[in-house]
């Protein structure tokens, strides 16, 4: 089946295009690719990229070259939840590697694999601008900060139970920055 956005998303795309000057609708490519990844299967397959090209009336290659450049676009299938753990300097100084090892052991997968239940993929990512609340990871739009093994357990349980949606962060998991100086 060829990919198809819902009518409401298509309407949103029309609004989106008007945010850029006449003749510059290609500017909407990144936002539309975010929508495509969210709505059309969680990763950007060739069919999805071709579909996006047709919506913007541009060549497919213009979509491929962009989709392959940015780290937030996934070209292969992933688990339902992608646990993107920051590995850069400040997080590494306070134990990011240990958190990554713990996650791998807990879920029984290596980086970039999918757990057998289809729920999780662990990825390492570079700095997410959360160095003051390190170590941290991102799942969907949610930042889970001040990570400890206990917090990882709690987060995994919440994700499995569907109470920490990747798109609607639960305040309990401190999406908002903690008051400075306050410890976890």
């Amino acid at each position: 089946m060829s990919p198809q956005f819902s009518p409401s998303t298509l309407a949103n795309i029309e609004t989106l295009k008007r945010r850029y000057p006449d003749g510059q609708s290609k500017s909407a490519l990144l936002p539309i690719l975010h929508m495509a990844q969210g709505e059309l299967g969680g990763h950007l397959s060739r069919e999805v990229m071709d579909y996006v090209a047709s919506i913007l009336n541009i060549q497919p290659i213009e979509v491929y070259e962009v989709a392959t450049f940015y780290t937030m676009f996934h070209l292969q299938p992933t688990g339902k939840y992608i646990l993107e753990v920051c590995r850069t300097g400040p997080c590494s100084l306070v134990g990011a590697e240990k958190i990554i090892e713990y996650l791998k052991q807990k879920l029984g997968v290596e980086l970039n694999q999918i757990t057998p239940d289809g729920l999780f993929t662990i990825k390492e990512v570079e700095c997410l601008a959360s160095c003051g609340s390190a170590p941290m990871l991102q799942v969907g739009e949610c930042y889970v900060e001040h990570l400890t093994e206990a917090k990882v357990d709690e987060m995994l349980a919440a994700l499995k139970a569907g109470s920490l949606s990747g798109h609607e962060p639960n305040p309990k998991h401190s999406i908002l920055f903690r008051t400075r100086g306050e410890t976890a």
Binding site: L30, F73, G89, L93, R180, G181
Partner: protein
Amino acid sequence: MPRQLLLENQDVPNIHQFDVYRQLGGYTSVERALNMQPLDIVEEVKKSGIRGRGGAGFSTGMKWSFLDRKSEKPRYLVCNADESEPGTFKDRYLMEKIPHRLIEGMIVSSYALGANRAYIYIRGELMWIAKRLERAIGEAKEAGLLGENILGSGFSLDLVVHPGAGAYICGEESALLESLEGKRGYPRLKPPFPAISGLYGCPTVINNVESISSVPWIINHGGDEYAKIGVEKSTGTKLISASGHINRPGVYEIELGLPVEEFIYSDIYCGGIANGRTLKAVVAGGSSVPILPADLILKTASGAPRLMTYESLSDGGFQTGTMLGSGGFIVMDDTTCIVRNTWNFARFYHHESCGQCSPCREGTGWMEKVLHRIENGHGTQKDIDLLVDITKKIEGKTICALGDAAAWPVASAIRHFRHEFEYHVSHPDKVSDPNHVYQPNLSQRTA
């Protein structure tokens, strides 16, 4: 308490909402600015002496004055909210806490520059903040502060939030423009500079979140008042993102001129080194700037106390100094392996190199590889010199500054901690333990 120009009222409940922000004096600078001549606003910003807060430290007022106003093309203001420099999280904090501060600054700045359309390019990972900004824009529009004919002035502004998709290089202003045009984030050759030919080939100003958010205060109080804060050519306040081995990581607004020692040890800032350890090194301005050992970050080579200013931090050049950069202040205690940290940063730059220029595309990968083998006990003495050689062959030889940014951390780590690299080479058995800790004797430091 130090003065708060940017983070004022940050702890007021619901300050992210329009009504709360407006009640506490928000958006008064828009009313004031719309009764001024645009060029007079540029003049105030020049007088304030504020320097670009993204990292380069170039005068914001000067940048504004380069804008091609004779061109018949539309002009654009683009806010760089692609904060990705490791160790930096102040723009995120500011937008998350007080989104209206940025929007107010965007309105005043757009009026000053004659831009009727402006973009906030925010890194894609911060999607919830993008949504928060969009809500705030909706509120401001409803209040007549955005859109057509703002407050009856005849000035109209369409403000758009545009998400990126994960690429450090898009923080480089010309790469950001490419990305905003829906392309790969490849930095452009300059000249022409964006002020002449920027977004869609039109005159464009690109400013950091913190710079734009400082404009309302400057307009409300005057550039001269702003210039009274701080010392020398480091005027005003600066947001510092403090991370690493400290007791109180977080974002702090400081008056430029604060002694580094006070910033690290005072209980109103970092609160000292965590777990009773001692200070080993600091990366003072985001991962790109040279790392300095404890003695040189606290005092300059001539023995003067090091201050949090553009001038003091760069005192001594790269031999004994560093840069204020983005204000990403990463503190390392005596258990930190400098080689490991340098490898970590080299891996970052290798990952983020856009691939356009060979010295950076290849060189960052070589540095990562060589550092990895030294860190894991497979390095040789020659590798240390090889690294220095690679840094020299990247620096200054690329289209954008990412090459320099990749070379400086490696060059400075070897400059100040060469003994630690040599120890790794001469003690392969010891460093092959992933938890190895090298306790340096600072008297061995080669300046």
